[in-house]
Amino acid sequence: MTDQPILVGYDGTDAARRAVEFAGKRATAEGCAIHLVYVLEWSPYSFLSTQELEERHQRRTEELSRAEETLKPALDALNKLKIPVTSEVRYGHSGELICKIAEDKGACQIIVGRKGGSTLSARLLGSLPLTLVQASPVPVTVVP
């Protein structure tokens, strides 16, 4: 068993579930742990109204607990497979954060799902898999 976990980007979508499923197989085969990361997109430089300022802390608490709930089925499924699994929910830029966490945790690889969209916006603005492929410090697997 290696102490380098597989890092999986998770947000509760079907694509993310497929990524977890695939990561489960890899982890069993290689005998390593899985670390699930749920990133809530956030910029400290975005603009909020006065009302939003007042409610921000409250909303954040709600968002965090909702994210934890979304993570639960994935955690349960991996636990059933007897894979050691940890998770964290973070605010920030998903690409930057996942790369940073991969480094901090010494992950052996990153696995993310792909929404399957080839929409114009994804092409112009880039998507998480594209960002990771370009910037990740470790190998990246994109699950279709």
Partner: protein, 506 residues
């Protein structure tokens, strides 16, 4: 009275220069009746608030002195904090000290941006033009000075706003002068005085919200819309109440209906407008860079000689000080309500961030407007208010008045939204929280939009200015009592920085 002349002069000049008759055309029917009903009340309030004493042959409103003296005292008491900690303020806004764990909470940048959107607006466009058209280019010098001093007032009030805010169990936060006045003064052993100041502040803040934060904005937005839709021949001329009704419905949809999308759109456009405005100003200044030296010379000479200005040096000084205070609201207490929501363990950090507000608002944007007006040579055209700014920018970009009209309406709208919140917080402080009570205030706020658009400018400016400045009386009394608390916060904060307990994370 000096102030009366100002108001009247700007009232006339706010109308299209080519079509001065609008002023007459407008005062008929429903508009006139609303105007006649409100004007006597606003006259009394303005007369009291702007009680003036004769100094060097001109009338000096005491309230302006009150603000500037306070700003000077805070500047000295905190050892020129606005200059010594300017760099630190920038580092805080950049997020150099923000812990990654706190991502998702209100950042220093967000609190500053929101507070700025409430202050950057008509004051920077119309107010500056009024100041230089009456006080001459020299008024700019005093405006910059008042802006620099005001940074210390803002530092003091926003530090207290965070320190004494209420954090509720459900995670919401509420802060502002009403809380630091009541809680802070109770700590100082003066609970009754604190309570009285807090209540007086809240009442004045409601007045300021419906005055400068609402009626003045609605009024100016209406004037601009009439001007760009054909002036006297506009289908809207004389129908301020109709424009007000439409504006009131849009405001109501946002603040009562909770329709966030409209507010969201405004919030995206307003910063863009500000950027366009500043960029256009910078282009004009840079393309006339050879004249900038001359413009500054006019500003300095005007400031100390007061040549050609009613009231001489003092006349220029009053205009500069007054417009700076109205524009950046330092010492008024309003911004402390917005800044209080930031996520920080150290109240003083938000104070440092807040001191950038008068700098950006007054020292940068207002000065830019003043420079453009001085360079353009439109100062002697007899215009004032938005019309003067519009003409000055039009001398370089002929299409600019249209953009400016759009900017004025949007700035007015965003300022209304900010102030509706400040007013609401004061209202709930007085009567308690509750859906029904909040709706009553919001309906009243919308009604005032209609009234503001219908009235002629003179009484509106009188009422708006006086209610906003009235907030400064209880606020600054409280600040004097509480400034040692702020000094204590400063000391323990820098002790933590020196011991390495607080350090840069970037």
């Amino acid at each position: 009275m000096f102030w009366k002349k100002t108001a009247a002069a700007s009232a006339v000049a706010m109308m299209s220069a080519t079509l001065p008759q609008i002023a007459l055309a407008q005062e008929v029917g429903l508009d006139e009746r609303i105007n006649q009903a409100i004007a006597p009340i606003s006259n009394v309030i303005a007369g009291t608030m702007f009680y003036s004493v004769p100094i060097a042959g001109t009338e000096f409103p005491l309230i302006v002195g009150w603000l500037v003296v306070a700003a000077t005292i805070f500047t000295l008491y905190f050892g020129f904090v606005q200059f010594r900690r300017f760099g630190h303020a920038i580092a805080l806004v950049k997020g150099d000290y923000s812990h990654p764990e706190d991502a998702g909470e209100v950042s220093h940048f967000q609190a500053l941006a929101t507070a700025l959107s409430g202050t950057v607006g008509l004051g920077n466009i119309a107010g500056v033009a009024v100041a230089v058209s009456i006080g001459g280019p020299g008024a700019t010098f005093w405006m910059i000075l008042a802006g620099l001093l005001g940074m210390a007032s803002k530092f003091t009030e926003c530090t207290l706003g965070v320190k004494y805010r209420n954090e509720y169990d459900d995670g919401r936060v509420s802060g502002g002068p009403m809380y630091y006045l009541s809680k802070g003064m109770a700590e100082k052993g003066k609970p009754v005085l604190g309570k009285v100041l807090a209540v007086v502040f809240s009442i004045c803040c409601i007045g300021g919200a419906v005055g400068g934060g609402n009626m003045f904005q609605a009024n100016q937005a209406f004037q601009q819309v009439v001007n760009v839709t054909g002036g006297e021949n506009s289908f809207l001329a004389g129908s301020g109440w109709l424009f007000g009704l439409v504006m009131a419905i849009i405001v109501g949809v946002v603040i009562i209906g909770g329709i966030k999308s409209i507010a969201k759109v405004t919030e995206k456009i307003v910063p863009l407008m500000a950027v366009i405005y500043v960029t256009a100003g910078m282009i004009i200044i840079l393309s006339n860079i050879t004249m900038v030296g001359d413009a500054f010379a006019q500003i300095f000479v005007g400031a100390f000689t007061g040549a050609g200005v009613a009231g001489g040096v003092i006349g220029a000084l009053i205009q500069g000080f007054k417009r700076a205070a109205f524009s950046n609201e330092a010492g008024i207490g309003s911004a402390a309500i917005a800044h209080a929501a930031v996520r920080t363990k150290e109240p003083v950090t938000e104070g440092y961030v807040a001191l950038l507000e008068p700098f950006i608002d007054t020292v940068v944007i207002c000065t830019m407007t003043a420079l453009v007006i001085t360079i353009s040579g439109e100062l002697n055209s007899g215009l004032t208010g938005v019309e003067l700014t519009s003409a000055a920018f039009a001398s370089a970009f002929t299409w600019f008045p249209l953009i400016l009209a759009l900017a004025v309406v949007l700035f007015a709208f965003s300022t209304m939204l900010s102030w509706s919140y400040y007013g609401l917080k004061s209202w709930t402080y007085l009567v308690g929280e509750g859906k029904g009570k909040e709706i009553i205030f919001k309906l009243f706020f919308c009604l005032c939009v209609i009234v503001g658009a219908s009235m002629s400018l003179g009484p509106v400016i009188d009422f708006s200015d006086s209610m906003i400045f009235a907030m400064a009386i209880p606020n600054i009394i409280g600040l004097y009592f509480l400034m040692p608390v702020v000094r204590g916060e400063v000391k323990q904060y820098w002790a933590k920085i020196e011991s390495g307990e607080i350090k840069k994370v970037k």
